[in-house]
Assembly symmetry: none
Homo-oligomer: 195 residues x 4
DNA sequence: TATGAATGAGCATTCATTCAT
DNA sequence: TATGAATGAATGCTCATTCAT
């Protein structure tokens, strides 16, 4: 990558960062291209030169965000803590890049995901899901996970909780019940019947 | 209620219905007052006469929606099926008014709820929560519910799943895992360890 | 005037009063027909039944106002005070119906006057001007008024000052200079050179 | 000022000119931003880019107008004519930028003035008033001005007449009485009693 | 006669996008 | 490449006026 391209990439990142910050804070719909340009200290047209349209910018912002978030998640998954702890951190760890996402942005993110936008789709298929499956298998080996439950269902479950926790209005309300939620995740509403 | 008022109420309902349909389908922000007026076959101004502003219209639309949804939920809760079946239906019953809500509308709904808008808040406090608590207590009596888990946590859990299922992009994907999800809800990822 | 007509007249007056109050307070342009209807406790349509249009309502409101103001002015002019005192009161007497008129209303009033709307025109010609001329002649007889100055010019002068004083933004600022203004009116910027 | 800025300033002036013309002719409230845009041959949005809002545009238009009017007034005041002639010209000189202002615009102008909008306020304090005081002092030295009358009162008087003359409906009617008005200004309704 | 309901036309303002340099 | 300037289209909202009872 020569100087030109490096500078170009830098500027792109600057724009993506600005966009991500604003999208996270106020949602996609409420943020105008002008605001992003302003925050990134570039002209609106520069944004169009790099990203074609607000829609495309949003797509790339999501990709940028996914990449960042994945770095954090991967670190956690590869770390040396017990299975239950991993699960708990995965769900409640507020440090993650995702923290305090404006719901509106999350929606766009999820839509992107389910729309089959190749990058996100591939990211899940090639990176996120395998790593999670690996985690569950580890959990099964250690007796934490019911062998009869499909990985898909568990994943759905975990993403669901995680996502729910991201919501501004939910997190604080639910924090006091962290223990209960964890218990529910592991043993369901019927409780640990072995005890 | 005389003829005048009846007609007024009818028109109001017509507008609310149109608004609800459109909000559900495309979200609040993407639907213009003009579109609602069009769909309801009234003039924009009539909407303003009845509802003051788009914001207020949205509030009333949410109330209208909650009322409708509650009718269905209450029927289910009062019906003569077993506890597990009730829970399952509560979560997966697609017949409910809520079906296929555009996420954006849901966001507004939840914001309304957490903002302490009196009607919704009161609705939960006075109607929804008591009925749910009653359900859980019944479940506990019959041994389906861990006595150590708080009602709040369970409710959070159920609403979370329910809400998640409402999402256009999720429902179809998750349907095949209905059984697994139900199991997870009841026994968690550890599975029914009593078996 | 039978009961019907009396009630009709009463309602008309009620509307005119409401309109006048609002016009005075906020100007003609900022007051909507709905507000007038509201303040007068009648329906908008009733206003249209009586006055045809907002424009016509305004015309009649002005007439109503002129009639009221004239009553006060006439009383003053017919009273038993000296010529200079009369002039002074005429100009500075804040009690008059006109007090604290929103400028915007005054504009409409003056436009009406200069447009040759028959009533106002006639009012001036038949009532106001003759009375003023009478006053000036009395003033001339007593040596207060230069015989060489035309009545028209004096009238213009007095109306001008009076009108200027009506303006919200002017009255308070100018009050401290009341004496100076009066002197200027009587002796001009050159001052009383006889002294 | 480079080419960019020059063109920008030019366009701004073009808009201000259009706005001033329209405001003068029909008043502020009756003129829509669209009309101004049309007359200035720019898009509405351009106006918003330059002036933020209709209100701000109006403020700047007033400033623009004051500046223009002052240029003419200053020239007159610095010219080599007698004191009485200066006063007369000041009042009756129709050439001035102010000519035939719609009253509504004048209201906004005066409101601006009395609201303490810094520019106009400062303009009066630093420029207009000192120059006028200078004029009066000159008049006093030459025996045209009563030493006992305050500058404030005289200024009030002159502005009042000037303003009154600006009004569309007044000027033509009053023109025949120019001489009388001037006499009244100098000697009051009592007349020049020295004669 | 009186009125609640309804409306077409208009307004200030915002925004994603393109033009011209 | 980068940008200041410009814009068409749309939006929420208001108002004087008319309809229908």
């Amino acid at each position: 990558m020569d100087g030109f391209q490096r500078r170009k990439a830098l500027k792109k990142t600057k724009i993506l960062k600005a966009a991500l910050d604003l999208f996270k804070a106020h949602g996609v719909q409420k943020v105008s291209v002008a605001e992003i340009a302003n925050k990134a200290n570039v002209s609106q047209v520069t944004i169009y030169n790099y990203f074609e349209s607000k829609d495309k910018l949003m797509e790339e912002t999501i990709i940028y965000y996914v990449d960042q978030a994945w770095l954090e998640a991967e670190e956690l998954l590869s770390s040396d803590v017990s299975f239950p702890e991993k699960i708990k951190l995965l769900i409640f760890n507020k440090k993650e890049a995702a923290s305090n996402i404006h719901e509106d942005f999350y929606l766009y993110f999820m839509k992107e995901y389910s729309n089959g936008s190749s990058y996100i789709e591939e990211f899940y298929e090639k990176k996120a899901i395998p790593k999670m499956v690996e985690l569950f298998n580890e959990g099964r080996k250690k007796g934490f996970v019911d062998p009869e439950i499909s990985n898909e269902a568990i994943m759905f479950y975990i993403y669901m909780i995680k996502e729910y926790m991201q919501r501004e209005d939910v997190y604080d309300k639910i924090l006091p019940y962290t223990e209960d939620i964890t218990k529910l995740l592991f043993y369901g509403i019927a409780g640990d019947r072995k005890k």
